[in-house]
């Protein structure tokens, strides 16, 4: 990245469908350069990728139809960090339960994730979530037709649990959530992600 005085990392938000605008705003509030990513060229131009909430089956289809699967897999294999929320976490999981049969599982996260694990929209909820990593106060976590993480593999650190299930996990430089921090004005989790990137960039410099 060019060494500006402001943002030192550029994060893309996968902008095929979903609450992209909220992620871009939250990333900018967390002091990074944020761009929408809909093409392979845009994907090449970012240091890290946020995958928003939305419909994982829709994103899965568009990733395949517009030639993004191979570039995404390559960047992930090369270690591109990700911040994923809800549908994004499903897409990055190794195993998806209750998906459509042909649904894309990019597999970078050692997670087994069940789609709509809490039920339908009527079971959507908000919750004051304790996340020791970011300290007090509790984080107002919004779960919308959220997935449930049913199994975690080696190297996955559980950052927060709700009802006995992990809802925020970290695996290396991937921060993965089943709720929507971008829907609130609390940007601590986006900041946590961006700070991790900055440390790596500064360490390499």
């Amino acid at each position: 990245m060019p060494g500006g005085t402001e943002a030192i990392v550029r994060v893309g938000a996968l902008a095929l469908q979903g609450d992209v605008r909220e992620h871009l705003a939250a990333l900018r509030a967390a002091h990074c350069d944020a761009i929408a990513v809909r093409t392979a060229a845009e994907l090449e131009a970012v240091d890290a990728l946020a995958i928003p909430g939305g419909e994982s089956t829709t994103m899965s289809r568009l990733i395949r139809a517009f030639g993004l699967e191979a570039p995404l897999r390559r960047r992930l294999a090369d270690g591109m960090p990700t911040l994923s929320t809800c549908a994004g976490t499903i897409l990055l999981s190794r195993e998806i339960r209750d998906g459509t049969g042909d649904q894309l599982a990019l597999g970078v996260l050692h997670l087994t994730t069940r789609r709509n694990g809490y039920g339908r929209q009527l079971d959507s909820f908000e919750f004051d979530l304790e996340i020791p990593e970011i300290g007090a106060p509790a984080f107002r976590a919004v779960f919308i037709r959220a997935p449930v993480i049913e199994a975690v593999g080696p190297g996955v650190e559980v950052l927060a649990v709700q009802g006995g299930r992990p809802v925020a996990v970290r695996q290396g430089r991937h921060l993965s959530l089943t709720f929507h921090p971008e829907m609130t004005a609390d940007h601590r989790l986006h900041r946590l992600f961006v700070e991790g990137l900055e440390r790596v960039v500064e360490g390499a410099a």
């Binding site: 609450d19 829709t58 459509t100 789609r115 339908r120 929209q121 909820f125 919750f127 004051d128 979530l129």
Partner: protein, 315 residues
């Protein structure tokens, strides 16, 4: 992988949960939030479980479960009501994406039934025959979120004032003619731009003129956008129509008759999904439009008698 143990995760529909951790269901944030998650996507009208599966395969973000698409309601006439419970259940069982269903304007018991079925969104819709010619449903009384149609900013804000968590243009459903959707989207967006130009001491008179809640006007004047997601609907029949609405400021598209009244439903569905995502890339719209058969046959709205217009329903 190690299985993570926990109490049964599946919740009961619509029950108010335990107060632990300030848990809350059916609040404004989760109601409006689901619509936020649908942004940039296409919601498709379906009349069978098989059509619902086609829609899901094509990349729909949600389906609208109906007995008849608007084009058929228009042709067959009679009273159009909430779809049969059996059909709605079949469609809910057929797909993993959100399922919406329509209730008649003012028919709060149809909406109660839809909520009891566990539907994900209720469309209080002018496409069905209104049950009340003066009052809309009090949508605050429900856990399930509602979407409502609007022709202009005042109507959109009245519906939001009644608790709608999402709005859409009315357009003119079942015509395959985008002209009314364009008119309504321009009216809403133009209304917002006008509000932005007003002084604070002019907002009350504007609220009176629009017949809309003053507090919502103030919010829109300050933020420059509606407090809820605004999709387009009513007459979108081609990928170019879908992209047109997005370029005019829609957050996403409802497509009714345009898909399953075309000669190539899967092809149209996929192409309209792509054109909604890549709405500002004409080369992509051209590419996905290639090889599609004829679009649904359209109707000239200007030559239709006023009593046949669905958009005039709602108050």
């Amino acid at each position: 992988m190690s299985e993570v143990s926990g109490p049964g995760a599946a919740g009961a529909n619509g029950t108010t949960a335990a107060p632990a951790g300030g848990e809350q269901r059916g609040g404004l944030r989760v109601k409006r939030g689901l619509a936020e998650m649908l942004k940039g996507g296409v919601i498709m009208d379906v009349v069978t479980a098989e059509q619902a599966r086609v829609a899901e395969e094509a990349g729909a973000v949600a389906v609208m479960a109906l007995e008849r698409v608007p084009a058929d309601i228009r042709r067959e006439g009679g009273v159009a009501r909430m779809s049969s419970v059996t059909l709605i259940k079949e469609i809910m069982a057929a797909v993993t994406i959100p399922v919406m269903a329509k209730a008649r304007i003012g028919h709060f018991v149809e909406a109660q039934v839809l909520q009891a079925l566990g539907i994900d969104y209720v469309d209080e819709s002018e496409v069905l025959t209104p049950a009340d010619e003066e009052h809309h449903i009090d949508k605050w009384a429900f856990t399930v979120p509602f979407v409502c149609g609007a022709r202009d900013l005042g109507e959109a804000l009245r519906r939001i004032g009644e608790g709608a968590a999402m709005v859409r243009t009315k357009g003119e459903a079942g015509t395959g003619n985008v002209v009314e959707a364009v008119r309504h989207m321009r009216a809403v967006q133009g209304g917002i731009r006008h509000l932005r130009s007003l002084r604070a001491d002019e907002l009350m008179a504007e609220a009176k003129r629009l017949g809309a809640p003053y507090e919502l006007l103030r919010e829109v004047a300050e933020t420059g956008r509606l407090p809820v997601v605004n999709f387009s609907a009513g007459g979108i029949a081609t990928p170019a129509d879908a992209a047109l609405m997005m370029q005019l400021g829609a957050d996403g598209n409802f497509v009714g008759s345009g898909i399953f009244k075309s000669e190539d439903p899967l092809g149209y569905a996929r192409a309209i999904v792509a054109a909604t995502t890549y709405y500002d890339k004409p080369e992509v719209i051209a590419e996905v439009s290639a090889g599609l058969g004829p679009a649904m046959r359209g109707l000239d709205v200007a030559s239709m008698p006023r009593e046949e217009l669905l958009a005039t329903r709602g108050w």
